[in-house]
C-alpha cells in the first residue's frame, strides 16, 4: 500500500512537471510577445527590451524553464519597476500587470474554487446517488419515471443556461446572494454565500449521477447477495440502502473520478457567472490580457488538482472494493 502510494506520487509529480513543461513550451512559442503584453500600449522599444532582459525572455527555453522550476522549488527574485521582489517558494512567477506574485494571487483564488467544487460535488453525489437509488427501488413505477425524466431534462440543458437563470433569478431572492466569505472567518456565511453556486453546479451534474447510480443500483439489487440479505430477515430499507447501495457506490466513484475535470470547468463558469473571485475568474482575466505568469500558474495548479484527485479516487477504490489489490 505505502509502496503503491509512493509510486503513484512519483508518477503524479512527473505528470505535473510534464504539464508544466508543455505549458511553458506552449507559451514560449506563442506568437504574442509577453514583454509587449506586460508593457501595454504606447511602449517604447527600449522599455520592451528592458523588460525582456529583466524577465530573462531572451534566454534560451531550457534555461528559462530551469529558472521557473527553481522558483517553484526554492524561490527566486524578480525585478519590478526597479524594485527587487523576493518571491519565495513555491514561486509561480510574478504578474507585472497586477504587480503581485502569482502564488499570492492563486492563494487568494484557490479557496474559492475549491469551496465551489467540493460543495457542488457533495451536492451532486448526494442528490444523484440518493435519487438514483430511490428510482431503482421503485423501478418502472411513477416515482422512477419522474426521476429519470427529470435527470434527462436537466442533463440536456446547457449548464451555462441553468447557471445564468440561477444567478439572475434565484441568488439574492430565494437563495442568499452569491459571495465568498473565507470559511475561517465565518463558516455559516461561507456556506450561505456559496449555496446558490453549489446547488446550481451540483444539481446539474447530479443528473448524470442519478442515471449512473440508478443503473448501478438496478444491477446490484438483482445480485444473489441481495436475496441473501432478505433471507437474513433484514428490513427492506437496510437491504436496499446498505447492501444494494454499498455495491453501487464503486461504479459511481469511477464516474466521479472521471468527472473532476468537468467539475473544475464547471466551477470556472460558475465563478464567472456568479462573480466569485476564484481560479476561473483569475484565469479568464489573465487570458484576456495575456498575463502569462498567471496563466502558467493556473495551468499548473489545475493539473496538480486533477492529478491529486485521481490519486485520491484510486486510493478510495481500495477502501470501496476490498477485492482491489494495489500492486
Amino acid at each position: 500500500m505505502l509502496l503503491y502510494v509512493l509510486r503513484r506520487l512519483a508518477s503524479a509529480v512527473s505528470v505535473v512537471v510534464a504539464t508544466m513543461f508543455a505549458g511553458f513550451g506552449l507559451f514560449f512559442l506563442a506568437p504574442t510577445d509577453a514583454a509587449g503584453a506586460i508593457c501595454g500600449n504606447n511602449c517604447s522599444a527600449e522599455r520592451i527590451a528592458h523588460i525582456r532582459a529583466s524577465l530573462g525572455l531572451d534566454e534560451p527555453f531550457l534555461s528559462q524553464f530551469g529558472a521557473y522550476l527553481t522558483g517553484v522549488l526554492v524561490g527566486r527574485t524578480y525585478e519590478a519597476g526597479g524594485v527587487v521582489v523576493e518571491c519565495s517558494a513555491p514561486c509561480l512567477g510574478f504578474s507585472y500587470q497586477l504587480n503581485q506574485p502569482v502564488t499570492a494571487l492563486i492563494a487568494d483564488a484557490l479557496p474559492v474554487t475549491v469551496s465551489i467544487v467540493a460543495g457542488a460535488a457533495t451536492v451532486s453525489l448526494t442528490v444523484g446517488v440518493l435519487t438514483g437509488a430511490f428510482a431503482a427501488r421503485r423501478r418502472g413505477r411513477v416515482a422512477d419515471r419522474v426521476a429519470v425524466a427529470a435527470a434527462l431534462g436537466l442533463g440536456s440543458v446547457p449548464f451555462f443556461v441553468v447557471a445564468l437563470i440561477s444567478a439572475l433569478y434565484l441568488a439574492g431572492t430565494v437563495l442568499p446572494r452569491a459571495e465568498h466569505i473565507p470559511i475561517s472567518e465565518d463558516p455559516l456565511g461561507w456556506a450561505a454565500g456559496l449555496l446558490a453556486p453549489w446547488l446550481t453546479l451540483g444539481v446539474v451534474s447530479a443528473a448524470a449521477y442519478t442515471r449512473h447510480a440508478r443503473a448501478a443500483m438496478i444491477e446490484s439489487l438483482g445480485e444473489d447477495y441481495i436475496r441473501t440479505a432478505r433471507a437474513k430477515g433484514l428490513s427492506e430499507r437496510r437491504v436496499v440502502y446498505r447492501h444494494g447501495l454499498r455495491a453501487a457506490i464503486t461504479p459511481v466513484a469511477t464516474l466521479f473520478g472521471m468527472d473532476v475535470a468537468f467539475q473544475l470547468t464547471g466551477a470556472l463558469f460558475t465563478e464567472a457567472i456568479f462573480g466569485l473571485p476564484g481560479l476561473g475568474v483569475l484565469t479568464l482575466r489573465a487570458f484576456a490580457v495575456f498575463d502569462l505568469p498567471v496563466l502558467m500558474g493556473a495551468v499548473l495548479v489545475g493539473a496538480t488538482i486533477l492529478v491529486v484527485m485521481n490519486l485520491v479516487v484510486d486510493i478510495a477504490y481500495t477502501v470501496l472494493d476490498p477485492r482491489v489489490r494495489l500492486t
Binding site: K232, G233, L234, T250, P322
Partner: protein, 342 residues
C-alpha cells in the same frame, strides 16, 4: 411417525406470469428429519424453496396454496412478520456462496448482522457470537477470520461461512439449495457431513435440494422427486432409491455413474426437460418416457396421472405394476439387489 411436521407445504403453486414453475406441490418435514428434493435443473426446486422463505417478489410472482412453518402461514404473510421469520426460525443456504455473500462486507459483519437482525445485542456480543458459529462450522482460527472478506476464503470455506450465517439464530428449519453444486468434489462431502451433523445436533427440519442422488442417499430420510414443477415420486429414501416407482426416477438412477455398475451401461435420460411455457399434455414426462406404449392407448399423452400410493409412499404414473417393470428391466442395469443404494 407421529411428530407434527415443522414445515408443511400444501398444494403450492408458483407462477411467474404465464410460466408455472411449481404446481400442486405438497410435502412435510418434521423436526429432526431431512427431506431431499431432487430433479433436473429447471424443475422448480428453487422456486418452491424461495416460496417457503417468502422470498419471491410479490409484484411478479403469483403464489397459491399453503406453506406453514412452525404452524405459521407463510403464503400472504405480512412483510414484518415474514422478516421476523426469515433468518431466525427458517434459514436458507444458497447454491453459490461466491455470489450469495456480499463482496464488500467482512464475513464477521455479515454474520453478526444476521444475528443482530433478530437479537437486541451489542455489536461486540454479536461479533463474539459470529466467531462462535464460524468455529462451529469448522473454520480454523475463526476469531481471526472475522475481518476477512468472502474472496479471501476458498469455495468450501465460503460455503461454511454461508452455513454459519444461516445457523446463527439456531433455525428450526434449514433449507439448503444445492449447497455443494458450486464446490469441488473433494469438499462436497465435507459440507454434506456438516449439514448432517448440525441437523443431528440441533434437531432442525432440513430440506436439501440437489440433482445428485448420491447426496440423497447420504443424508436424506425422505426424498421428493420433481419433474416440470410437480412431485412425481415421494417417500422414504430407502424405498424411493431401493424400489423407485416412477420412470423418471429410474432415469435419474441410470444416469449416475456412482450407481450404475459399469460406466458403459450409463443411460442418460433422452431429450431435455420441457419448456415451462409450453408444458406437454398429459404426463409431463411422456415425451422422454420409454413406457407409454406399455400403458396403452394414449393415456400418457392425454391424462395427467394423479399422485397416488399408500401412506407416505406416492408416485405419479399410469404404469400398472411399476415395481415389476423396475425389477425386471431397470434393476439389472444398476447391479444386484439393494447395492445401488449406498
Amino acid at each position: 411417525m407421529t411428530t407434527t411436521p415443522y414445515l408443511a407445504v400444501r398444494d403450492l403453486t408458483v407462477a411467474f406470469g404465464d410460466v408455472r414453475a411449481v404446481s400442486d406441490l405438497s410435502y412435510a418435514v418434521p423436526l429432526g428429519r431431512t427431506l431431499a428434493i431432487v430433479g433436473e435443473s429447471g424443475s422448480g426446486k428453487s422456486a418452491a424453496a424461495l416460496a417457503v422463505m417468502g422470498l419471491h417478489d410479490p409484484a411478479t410472482t403469483r403464489i397459491t396454496g399453503s406453506v406453514t412453518v412452525g404452524g405459521a402461514e407463510v403464503v400472504g404473510m405480512a412483510p414484518a412478520e415474514l422478516r421476523a421469520l426469515r433468518g431466525s426460525r427458517a434459514a436458507m443456504v444458497f447454491q453459490d456462496p461466491q455470489s450469495a455473500l456480499h463482496p464488500y462486507f467482512t464475513v464477521g459483519a455479515q454474520i453478526a448482522e444476521a444475528y443482530r437482525a433478530h437479537n437486541a445485542v451489542s455489536r461486540r456480543a454479536a461479533r463474539a457470537h459470529a466467531a462462535d458459529v464460524l468455529g462451529r462450522v469448522g473454520i480454523p482460527a475463526a476469531r481471526r477470520r472475522l475481518d476477512d472478506y468472502p474472496h479471501q476464503f476458498s469455495g468450501g470455506m465460503r460455503q461454511r461461512v454461508m452455513i454459519a450465517m444461516a445457523l446463527v439464530n439456531d433455525p428450526k428449519l434449514l433449507i439448503a439449495d444445492e449447497p455443494t453444486t458450486a464446490l469441488d468434489v473433494t469438499v462436497q462431502a465435507q459440507i454434506l457431513d456438516l449439514i448432517a451433523d448440525l441437523r443431528r445436533e440441533f434437531g432442525s427440519a432440513v430440506v436439501v435440494i440437489t440433482h445428485d442422488l448420491g447426496v440423497v442417499a447420504e443424508i436424506a430420510d425422505d426424498v421428493l422427486v420433481m419433474y416440470a414443477g410437480r412431485c412425481v415420486e415421494r417417500g422414504p429414501t430407502r424405498t424411493v432409491l431401493g424400489a423407485p416407482a416412477h420412470p423418471y426416477t429410474w432415469g435419474l438412477l441410470e444416469s449416475i455413474p456412482v450407481v450404475a455398475e459399469k460406466p458403459a451401461r450409463l443411460r442418460p435420460i433422452p431429450g431435455s426437460p420441457p419448456n415451462p411455457r409450453t408444458p406437454p399434455t398429459g404426463c409431463a414426462f411422456h415425451p422422454r418416457c420409454r413406457y407409454p406404449e406399455r400403458v396403452g392407448d394414449t393415456a400418457c399423452r392425454d391424462r395427467m396421472p394423479e399422485l397416488t400410493g399408500d401412506g407416505d409412499r406416492l408416485s405419479r404414473c399410469h404404469l400398472p405394476r411399476p415395481d415389476q417393470v423396475f425389477r425386471a428391466e431397470v434393476l439389472p442395469l444398476l447391479g444386484t439387489g439393494d447395492q445401488h443404494v449406498r
